[in-house]
């Protein structure tokens, strides 16, 4: 909790051994000697286990639909791109794709703004009921957001937000806020106060301190929680299934489920659609992952 803020990428500087051959090894978790060969072998096995099913999915998406059942080869025996053409044009999958992008980007933007403001208040101000309000937010982490589906459905109905992407965004924002606030409060607290005081001397307002100083300094943590929020919203299934009704409003996961229902045996286009649905979250993850380590260790989880 008491770690000081360092920039992205410096999170593991401490464990870096001195450069050059023959330098003494830093003692590690697997003993004083690094046992690189064994660890590499395990890492390879874990990576294959993790990526295997996904590589299989990619391979199947390029396999001719007529040859998909019973296919056990990792390389398509009858390669084709027709699955992608069919997936994108039929079932208005491209439309679902942009709905999902819209919902998750707007959710991330609102959550980042609201959570930064709240986390800043918790991290930098002393005020009556501070801890009480903080735990009031945290309490909802114990209650899965799915459990509120019924009253939320009725609420959406009353606010005329049923079957709308905006209604979905409201629910996603609310369910992602508490964790983001918790995480950013830890990060903001670790930023030395002197920076802020110097900034204030120049007459900066609170919002300016937040947007020009605290947020830029916290980009690793913000990137990380944004990634969590993005992938949560992009792939959320049960709430979207309940709230959305009209096919033109469907997000990707609903569109996918719909796919299987209508063409029961169209595995090829389904896997092509699955790949399309997976690529954005993987790209977002790969872009943000270099901050993952410093972000988590500075976010109050250490």
């Amino acid at each position: 909790m008491s770690m000081t803020a360092t920039g992205p990428g410096t999170g593991r500087g401490r464990t870096k051994p001195p450069a050059g051959r023959g330098a003494p090894h830093q003692p590690g978790l697997w003993g004083t000697r690094p046992k690189n060969a064994l660890r590499l072998l395990i890492a390879l096995a874990l990576a294959l286990l993790s990526l295997g099913p996904l590589m299989y999915m990619v391979s199947l998406s390029f396999q001719d639909n007529g040859y998909i059942l019973g296919n056990t080869s990792l390389i398509p025996t009858h390669p084709t791109t027709s699955n992608y053409e069919q997936a994108w044009t039929e079932n208005s999958f491209g439309h679902y794709f942009f709905n999902s992008i819209y919902v998750s980007l707007v959710t991330v933007a609102i959550v980042v703004v609201l959570a930064s403001m709240a986390a800043f208040a918790f991290a930098r101000y002393k005020f009556p009921m501070r801890e009480a309000i903080f735990y009031f937010f945290l309490a909802s982490l114990a209650i899965p957001n799915l459990l509120l589906l019924i009253p939320q459905y009725l609420l959406m109905d009353r606010l005329h937000l049923l079957d709308s992407l905006e209604g979905l965004i409201c629910l996603y924002v609310s369910s992602n806020l508490p964790f983001m606030i918790f995480f950013l409060r830890g990060f903001f607290s670790s930023i030395p106060r002197e920076y802020e005081e110097a900034f204030r001397l120049d007459g900066a307002s609170t919002l300016k301190v937040l947007s020009r100083l605290i947020v830029p300094l916290s980009l690793p943590a913000i990137a990380l929680v944004s990634m969590f929020t993005f992938s949560a919203a992009f792939d959320e299934f049960p709430i979207a299934l309940t709230i959305l009704n009209t096919p033109s409003n469907f997000t990707l996961p609903i569109g996918l489920a719909d796919f299987i229902g209508e063409h029961t045996l169209a595995w090829g286009p389904f896997f092509a659609a699955s790949v399309i649905a997976t690529v954005p979250v993987v790209v977002v993850f790969l872009v943000t992952q270099r901050w993952a380590r410093s972000g988590i260790s500075l976010g109050g989880l250490r």
Partner: protein, 321 residues
Amino acid sequence: MIAPGTLREGRPASVTLGASPRRQTNRSGRARKAATPYLLLLPALLVYCVFTVYPVFKQFEISFFNWHIFPGASNPFVGWSNYTKAFHDPIVRTAVRNVLLYTAITVPAQMAIGLFAASVLTDRLPGSLFWRAAIYIPVVTSYVVVSWVFSYIFSSEGGIANAVAGFFSGHTEAINWTGQTWTAMAVIWILTVWKGIGWSFIIFLAALDGVPRDLLESARIDGASEPRVWRHVVIPSIRAAITFVLVLLVIGAMQAFTQFYEITRGLGGPYNSTQNFMMYMYQQAFSFFNFGYAAALASLLALVLFGFSWAEIRVLRQADL
């Protein structure tokens, strides 16, 4: 990240806000300052209260009624009868059993494998960025997508799983994995563990950074065996992360829905035998329109989870002392 010169780090740190020439001494200025944190909190609180807190109470209210959503329908007050009904519902019993079993199997498995993977990758290793990404990627994939990939792998019509099982057992008849209770559950467990490892892995990886390496070494020099090193050095310094992962994984396991829904095609398996709590609640509400009963089920689970999280945090805090 900050343009040079924006921060006047050269100024003495002892210069405080109070010494500013623009300091606000008048009453309205002080009142405004006192209001600042509340103003900052206001938007988040507002959204949170409307879309999360209000539904909690609304749910509790609904659970005491025979609630219909159809316009013009009457919603008679039925007292605790939705709750007593839940305690006598055999499908609830099956659903609870399945959820507990699912939690007991998938949570420890995810934590153990995640921690093991983190211990392999915490110290310098060639290609560590790649290994890290590879292990984490299943986490960001969609449950709908991977449920169907696993359905396909375990398909009775020429799926890979049957080929492997046939190869090892010598049997030629295909196993209908997702069509039978226990094999369907096993597929769901395997899928969940596969998808969940990366999440605990990434948190443990960050936590293991904080394990004092010199302490590890001095423990080893003192002749401590590796299990003892883990028990007395590693585990104590990552306790906060263990609590966090455990609490969130259990909460996640209790609300498992999509993988059950997709693997059993939304039906809960033969005779509801793979039914799970969340799915049953969902069916009651949105297939049978028993909103009152479904709300009672949800309130019960919320209560259990709340008590559980609270107890778990307390127990682990005490163990820390």
